[in-house]
Amino acid sequence: MATGLYSQHLHNKKVLYLRNTVITIVLVVFAAATLFPIVYMILSGFGPNVSTAGNMRTIFPSRWTLESFKAFFDFSPYSLRWIWNSLVVAAGTVLGNVLFASMAGYAFAKIRFKGSKVLFAMILVAMMIPYQVTQIPLYILMVQKFHMTNTYSAMILPSLCTAYNIFLCKQFFTGLPTPLIESAKIEGCSQFQIFIRIILPLSKTVLAVMAINTFLSSWNNFFWPFLVTNTPAMYTIQVGLKQFKFANETLFAPMMAGATISALPMFIMFFALQKYFMEGVTIGAVKG
């Protein structure tokens, strides 16, 4: 447990307990402060659907009811469809990234082909370009040239295989032992077979991390779906929530209910797959 940093009071049980208690209290208080908006959101969602500001006076709603959730779903006939749309877009994006980014990552890591260095450098540079640069031409391309407004393709295609995911896969695959691949080659495996039979089974973690991170960022993405949709039937849940907010400025509890609905699937996913979320943070970071 304790690294050498905390070796001061190891022999004095009383001081040790006191120290750890103080640290725990500070940590819990700060964690509570950052968690508070989320807790407040979920609890307030169960408040009554009335348009008075007095509702938010307390942390616990004055009356527990589901009517605010009902109000959110009643707001638009497409409310449920927004969740479905988000799901479709996120699933499509994940599928594309897991497939294409892993293939490209493998090629950049383990296949020696002409131009690989230049192409990979291009992808690295692309990672550093702010999204503001690409967003405008992409918008013109998708909306004005391809006329793809209000389609799943418009929402999925631009992030079908992100530079970051290619980079992530390449980093991971580079760490796999090359002799393994060489011997498989000698046995007569084609690169494709090597990829499917050897590389992928060894890379379940990185693929899971990539899938989860991609799913999360796609689900939470507001900006792009907002730009390429204009009929309620094609909104994602984030866009829908924003429209709900602008239409119901004074309805406190229903707005919280809507926010809860938009965040809940990710919370469930987080509790189910916590390990991968945590791993995802450090897997992409530079080795320090």
């Binding site: 690294t3 950052t34 497939l99 550093m128 405008i136 406190f252 945590m278």
Partner: protein, 307 residues
């Protein structure tokens, strides 16, 4: 694989594509097509568009006008106002949140693995809620009536009711507080990973010399996690320069443009006023600034950092 008979092999390789070349291209084909259409083309197109006054049918070439318009200094030039706002926001939020994350990580360290994971999860959780959901919540927390929770809470300490988001005095402060009280999960987890990687022998040696806890933190831990700090600093600044969501959802840039950030300015120019050329020019200036800032930070902090 075999470097000794390189020249001959290389000569033959040059003549035609090898098997590996072909496989390589097959594997990257899909990714590269997507990359070219949805990243490379837009980047080139953005540079191209930035020299035009964009119109759907037949844009008009204006040379560097979009750039000079953006950079021409005047009191009413929103670009400088937005740049200043972004700078203020970044200079306060990024170092403070780094310091906070570092402190929390050091504090999490003495506990057992299980407890550490619980804390990590607690600090990470708020970060997975979407920006829209969070800003909806914060909008109500900052409610300007005395019933707003923030006003109520500060009321206990005798702070008078504030018009948090709709007063030029507090609007930026509100966004900064919100950023500082949102999730630092990724930074904390990254720091903890770095802290766990520090070799115990450093601490043992320091102990022999009678170092106190704070001396150890100051002279061992802080220098050794410097690469992590640098990484988090650079990515933090990059993210902060592009900040859009909170300003857009919470204040819309107001009041009186006191919270208009570069990200929001570019958005408004492009998608509210359809000045695509101008917006592209500003986005490119933003890219250059971000690149220069990153290089500067590496130069400033990276002198004694080894990778």
């Amino acid at each position: 694989m075999n470097k000794t008979n390189g020249p001959r092999l290389r000569a033959r390789r040059k003549a035609r594509f090898t098997n590996d070349d072909l496989w390589g291209y097959v594997f990257i084909a899909a990714a590269m097509i997507i990359f070219c259409v949805f990243t490379l083309y837009p980047v080139i197109n953005a540079i191209y568009t930035s020299f035009f006054n964009y119109k759907p049918f037949g844009s008009e070439f204006v040379g560097l006008k979009n750039y000079t318009d953006t950079l021409k200094y005047s009191k009413f030039n929103l670009f400088y106002k937005a740049a200043w706002n972004t700078l203020v926001y970044t200079v306060i939020v990024v170092p403070l949140s780094l310091l906070l994350s570092f402190t929390i990580s050091v504090m999490i360290l003495p506990f057992q693995k299980k407890v550490q994971s619980v804390f990590k999860a607690m600090y990470y959780l708020p970060g997975i809620a979407s920006g829209v959901a969070l800003s909806v919540v914060w909008l109500w927390l900052y409610d300007s009536s005395p019933d707003g929770l923030f006003n109520k809470f500060l009321g206990f300490f005798g702070v008078p009711t504030q018009n948090w988001l709709s007063s030029t005095k507090t609007s930026m402060l509100s966004l900064i507080i919100m950023a500082l009280l949102s999730s630092h999960g990724t930074q904390i987890i990254t720091y903890i990973a770095a802290l766990l990687g520090i070799d115990n022998s450093y601490f043992e040696a320091a102990e022999l010399d009678g170092a106190t806890f704070f001396q150890k933190v100051r002279y061992i831990v802080w220098p050794l996690v410097k690469p992590t700090t640098l990484f988090l600093l650079v990515t933090g600044v990059i993210g902060s320069f592009q900040v859009f969501m909170n300003a857009y959802m919470m204040t819309g840039g107001g009041p009186d443009n006191s919270t208009t950030m570069i990200g929001l300015l570019i958005y408004n120019n492009a998608f509210e006023y359809a000045k695509y050329g101008l917006a592209c020019a500003q986005a490119i200036i933003l890219t250059i600034v971000i690149a220069l800032m990153s290089v500067f930070q590496f130069k400033l902090m990276g002198v004694d950092v080894e990778y």
